[in-house]
Amino acid sequence: MTRLHSAAELEQLRAAILSSRDPAKPCIAVCAGAACHGLDSLRVANAFQREVEALGPAAGVEVRVTGCHGYCEKGPNVVVGPAQVCYFEVKPEDVPEIVESTLKGEVVERLVYKHPATGEKAVHMSEVPFYKHQTRLLMGDNTRIDPMRIDDYLAVGGYAALAKALFQMTPDQLVDEVKRANLRGRGGGGFPAGLKWETAKNAPGDERYVIVNGHEGEPGAFMDRALFTGNPHKVLEGLVIGAFAIGSHRGFIYTRHDSPQLVKHIEQALAQAQEYGLLGDDILGSGFDFHVELHFDVGIFVSGESSALMRSIEGLPPEPRPKYIRTSVAGIRDKPSNLNNVETWANVPQIISRGADWYAGIGTEGSKGTKLVSLSGNVVDSGVLEVPMGTPLRKIVYDIGGGAAGGKSVKAVHFGGPMGGSIPVHLIDAPLDFDELAKLGAPVGAGGLLVMDEDTDMVEVARYFLEWLTKESCGKCVPCREGMWQTMKVLEGITKGKGKSGDIARLEDLNDVTGAACLCALGKTAADPLRSMLRYFRPEYEAQIARGDHRGDEAVGSAAR
């Protein structure tokens, strides 16, 4: 690899990469995302590689092991380009047939999508129901990139936005562009990223940091991992642009210690970017220096909370900081530290290359761009999807997800995991929008969408979330540690048929205080699921409590006899 010293050299390299590739030749993309990987997709990939090697280079067939395609339900996924023919649930023994048909320009009919009810087939990605309702601005490249090869990212236009940022724009213009795009934080808070950048940029001090929050610890959220593992350079490019805008020379990537594939891809991306001179000293000959360190979580959910994360990077236990000062002013070692999550950073390159006006044209008044959603639960088709902000939840659940599994009906949808909220199915026409969903009590959070069918016990759902949260709290402040534990105990009683009168009041008191008095956002938002339950499913709670009350009377009665 050669080091690039200017934007022109980057473009020369890109041209060389593109000229060595023939877009008309077949390329077989085998998904090695977390779900497909778990279904042994590497055996499928190896089978393809063997088959294609046997054909020899003259056949011109390329095999590419890629990150997550999105349609996890039907893995292992294989997409054959250039026509984007989708094969699902591919096994190693299917491979010779796929290669043979591909060479003949034919399609293996038995492996394409078939609608479970109508039997209608869909061959190309643009026709498969799971994909055709999506706008895959961030995820779309995943099928085109081997995450271990920076050249694949350059081939789809990678690092052009960085070159533009360094040579055609000033840091102020960059911050302004992100502000005008109204990019809001994808990690859960929905705080405007541009404003955060501006605060960090203008905070006093010579040293400032930028951080990727790749912790993604909540159950049911797996979109950041899909994006970061599948396209690490997109996130890295966003980070370098942000660093230049804010005036930071040191960045941190904080991510999961327990996802070896993700770690491998990030490390490779950092090394390759460094070799090409897209990271490190004098990036692309611009004189701008920026270095990145990779840090790992310590296996507790609260380490994804911004101030806890920064303490963790400092080498301290990940306890949220109680101070009333923003981390963008005083974060790591009390230096201004700008933290954005994986998806937020990944949005930056396209905002810079295509402009704030283009970006702001997608979405709703208050929520711009697209949003990654990880869809799971009692749904026909689970996976990672990407839709424009403002898309009705109905479209996500029914058109993309195929509705409730097993012929049942949807009872509720739940956004944001254990710190999100549930809304009943009659509100399913609500748009995917930060503000609208927050009003309904189901804030988007990071984008984990859980579908619950008619058989779901809503008391049990809340109890499950609380049980999880009590284990993931750091345990420092009383309303989080004690409040959630007591809430869980009350819910446990109700689910065991030992509900008592006064339980609702107990739950409400505990929940109100947890929501109002906790030290950090984990505790404060931990009150959200139960609050939404008591708002929409109170009769179910009352009925279960009444059952326990009734049982109590019987016991008293028999004891009295």
């Binding site: 109680p322 420092k476 540690r481 004690e482 534990w485 009350v490 008191d509 109002a516």
Partner: protein, 205 residues
């Protein structure tokens, strides 16, 4: 730091600009209850008993007064329906662990907290961290620390350090609102260096 004028419970209060709301209130003779606060220690913000209602530019919010900085024209209410509810529920949560702690019992009367409202778990420790922080910040020994997380969090003396440092100190015992620190220490002693007390007492006698 220049002084600021603010309002606490309807009273005009002048405070030094680097003070917290709790310090300003105390200087003005206004009482705010605390459990984890100690003037020799860094504010901890864990018990949340010192929460007050503040109003800035028409926006009302609940903040912990031990950490919230004073500001010009800040309006603070140390008692309100919301504040009292937070304190009551926190006390009820803590009484489930230490129903006989004199400090908690006294506060529970003032805030009408019901000691039997929630499921009891007689762990005695309320995790105010006074012992942990006193040992770390004042004595600089770190002989006692938090272990585990969430609902499993507890304090624990580190036997290797405790065996060397605690014998002649034991200053944290007096800070403990429930006497649990003392109990935890003696447990460590019994497990880690049994017989020392008897031997120590004999040699002293």
């Amino acid at each position: 730091m220049s002084d600021v004028v603010m309002q606490i419970d309807g009273k005009e209060v002048k405070a030094r600009g680097d003070m917290t709301v709790l310090q300003a209130a105390r200087a003005a003779g206004i009482h705010i209850p605390t459990l984890c606060h100690h003037e020799k220690l860094e504010p901890f913000g864990a018990c949340r008993m010192c929460m007050v209602e503040v109003e800035t530019r028409g926006r009302k919010s609940y903040v912990v007064s031990c950490l919230y900085p004073v500001a010009k024209d800040l309006v603070v209410r140390t008692r309100s329906e919301g504040v009292d509810k937070i304190r009551r529920v926190i006390l009820e949560e803590l009484l489930a662990h230490a129903p006989n702690s004199p400090e908690l019992v006294a506060l529970s009367k003032e805030y009408r907290a019901d000691p039997n409202r929630f499921e009891m778990d007689a762990s005695f420790c309320i995790l105010c961290g006074l012992c942990v922080r006193y040992c770390a910040e004042v004595k600089r020994k770190n002989a006692v620390d938090f272990i585990e997380r969430g609902a499993s969090r507890e304090i624990s003396f580190i036997p290797e350090i405790a065996a060397k440092e605690c014998w002649d100190c034991q200053e944290c015992f007096a800070l403990c609102p429930t006497s649990y620190a003392q109990a935890a220490y003696f447990l460590t002693e019994a497990l880690a260096f049994p017989g020392r007390r008897k031997a120590g007492a004999t040699s002293a006698g």
